[in-house]
Symmetry: C2
Subunit: 410 residues, 2 copies
């Protein structure tokens, strides 16, 4: 087990700031800047939406050119700089230029992210002053402000870190994330920056990040929508002096990275728009891992399942029906479904068996309602079809989700 | 244009009843029986969910055996008879036996549908008395009661009919439907019975129904869920004496059938759980019809799009973002998006152009909000990529949807 903290200590090679640049009202922090003291090996993953925001397109280009030499990441809220055409791309480029001037680095060494309303242009004047002010505020201790500065409808900042001790010394992996709405598998509106002072090359950074995302960011569902801006970076400064040489060291790093990413991804679900419950969906003995993932995702995305959770209704029929429409092989006659309170299983006890061999068991409705009324619920679905497994984390669908998204722009 | 009425006149060969069998409270009609005076050529389409309710499995079997000789359809509400195992299948079979005894026909000539809560068994005692009472109530004029008797969370009955005049005489196509929740493409929780006194063979009935469903029932989205019970039948009594011989006659029938099915499908959307708006999504110039359908469906299923409609927010960014994640080819740089009030275009005027060439136009936000605040909204999305077209009808996602589905079983 990796011990993950919800705070971030100073990490060698990184300074960060979160400031109010005037993009949001009420002096809320709204602009984040990360600057490294040396070139970082960097991996990135981006939205699979064919409508990609300008910062995504620009960061993809910069990363392709300078994956071994990234020096800064700038993130603004309020405007997603998506569907803004050539002007939007030029604006994103200008932001990287301003950062490069402050930090005395190349513009291509700067990555950018934006989040907020689609189709509005970046407020360039405010951002220019913001970049300067953020640069002056950089500090190894700025992570709490940084995490706050990337929030949109998030209600709380999301930070995670862990420190690994090796025979060569110690290194830290840390990250911040924002989420809230438009969260779906395959990179939802999730912005996240992960840093480490371990040493690796860009190809390692990319493959480690891709692998970790498969077990974290791509395993969460809030509403099934996928945004135009999703981006996660992993920057490795190498400043700890610890190098990932052996497969064992890579594996140890991977495990710790997954733990940090899972913590952040789960925090995104916990803070999903209007969420009142945190639900773990564990599908196993499916015909393949892909089938298990498809079934778990379909259950997690079903509005009928999500509203039943909101209503504290142990409506297993909707769960089974969602599994049946997932497109993956699923036979209710070989399936078993359990519900249990909590986020994890305790001693492999899956809780109350409510469905088996095509029909409900003679479970107590009162007991089931009691479990489903908890703030954390663990769903186990045994497909009885093979060895495939997937865990997906999701939340319920509440009145507040409708409120938040019915009036987001107003 | 086919003229479709919202009432059903007597149709030769058919008698129908909707009664209170004690399945619902407050004397609400809850059981429907249709009996024909001669064997009917019958087509059927069923849920694509791999979790199929007992009435679906049984009706598929009866239809395979007796597609040219169907004599009755029985529909109960309150219990879906899904996830009920062998006992559920035996119960469905017993219902067909009771109907066959009353009508003096074979049990395999009886089709059944059920709708309601998954996992509960049919209340057999009440149903036995109900079948008898319904049989005694059969009448050529019973359609209004029949349509009411199949409602679940529907707020109003759904009926449609049209009469076609040919050189050989006239025939009628008529149908009833229920919908409300769990409505998605590919047969949602949609139960519908269509009848006609035109003469055809079972293969014709099947192919005509399949074709019509593609343009109606499979083009509506309420919440993206697909139920365990979806079923539509087309029964042709032939009692009018009018035969569909020539391709022209087939085409004329097809057009009228599509019109009846579209009316019923659209009524299902209009009466979607918690729906406050009826939205037409017309995607054209896509790379193929399939791509257009995929794009239109993804827009129609997006919780972010649906909540924006509920909030009267002309959030075109969410529409474009949904198109981009549909999985179909979609390039925002060649796309155009219009919004217009109403259910249909008037003289090809697509209304207010709000997005073009990757960016929003300089449209008036006030004008856009005015349009989106209407009860009926027409969305036009030109993909600029080919010749593909698809129209999908949907509704918004409101507080009431959450209320209805958070407490459906309680």
């Amino acid at each position: 087990m990796v011990d993950v903290e919800a705070t971030i200590p100073p990490v060698k090679g990184f300074r960060v700031a979160g400031i109010h640049a005037g993009l949001k009202k009420d002096n809320a922090l709204d602009f984040m800047l990360l600057v490294t003291d040396r070139p970082c090996a960097t991996g990135g993953i981006f939205t699979t939406n064919t409508v990609k925001a300008a910062p995504v397109l620009l960061s993809q280009r910069h990363l392709a050119a300078k994956a071994g030499e990234i020096r800064a990441v700038a993130i603004n809220t309020a405007s997603a700089n998506a569907a803004t055409g050539m002007a939007g791309l030029a604006n994103a480029e200008t932001v990287t230029k301003w950062v490069s001037e402050q930090a005395q680095i190349g513009a291509e060494q700067v990555l950018v992210m934006s989040t907020g309303v689609i189709g509005t242009h970046l407020p360039m004047e405010k951002l220019q002053a913001g970049v300067e002010r953020a640069y002056q505020s950089l500090s190894p201790d700025g992570w709490s402000n940084a995490a706050q500065a990337i929030m949109t409808t998030d209600t709380r900042p999301k930070l995670a870190s862990t420190t690994i001790f090796t025979s060569d010394g110690q290194y830290t992996i840390a990250g911040i994330a924002k989420g809230a709405g438009m969260i779906a598998p395959n990179m939802a509106t999730m912005l996240s920056v992960i840093i480490t002072d371990a040493r690796m090359n860009p190809a390692q950074a990319q493959s480690l990040l891709t692998g970790a995302a498969q077990k974290s960011y791509n395993r969460i569902v809030v509403d099934g929508d996928t945004s135009t801006n999703d981006t996660v970076f992993l920057l490795a400064s190498g400043a700890s002096g610890v190098t990932l040489n052996s497969p064992t060291e890579m594996l140890q790093f991977q495990e710790a990275l997954v733990a940090v990413c899972q913590k952040l991804a789960q925090d995104v679900v916990r803070d999903g728009e209007g969420a009142t419950k945190f639900i773990t969906i564990d599908v196993f003995n499916a015909s393949s891992d892909e089938a298990a993932h498809k079934i778990a995702n379909t259950i997690a995305s079903s509005p009928l399942v999500k509203t039943a959770f909101f209503g504290n209704d142990a409506n297993w029929g909707r769960i089974v029906a969602a599994a049946g429409r997932s497109g993956a092989a699923f036979d209710p006659d070989t399936a078993k479904l359990w519900i249990s309170p909590g986020e994890e299983l305790f001693e492999e006890d899956r809780g109350l068996l409510i469905f088996e061999a095509g029909t409900p068991t003679s479970y107590s409705e009162k007991e089931a309602t009691g479990i489903i009324s908890e703030e954390t619920v663990y769903i186990s679905l045994d497909c009885g079809a093979g060895q495939g497994q997937a865990t997906v984390w999701t939340c319920d669908l509440s009145h507040d989700y409708v409120d938040i998204n019915g009036s987001y722009r107003t």
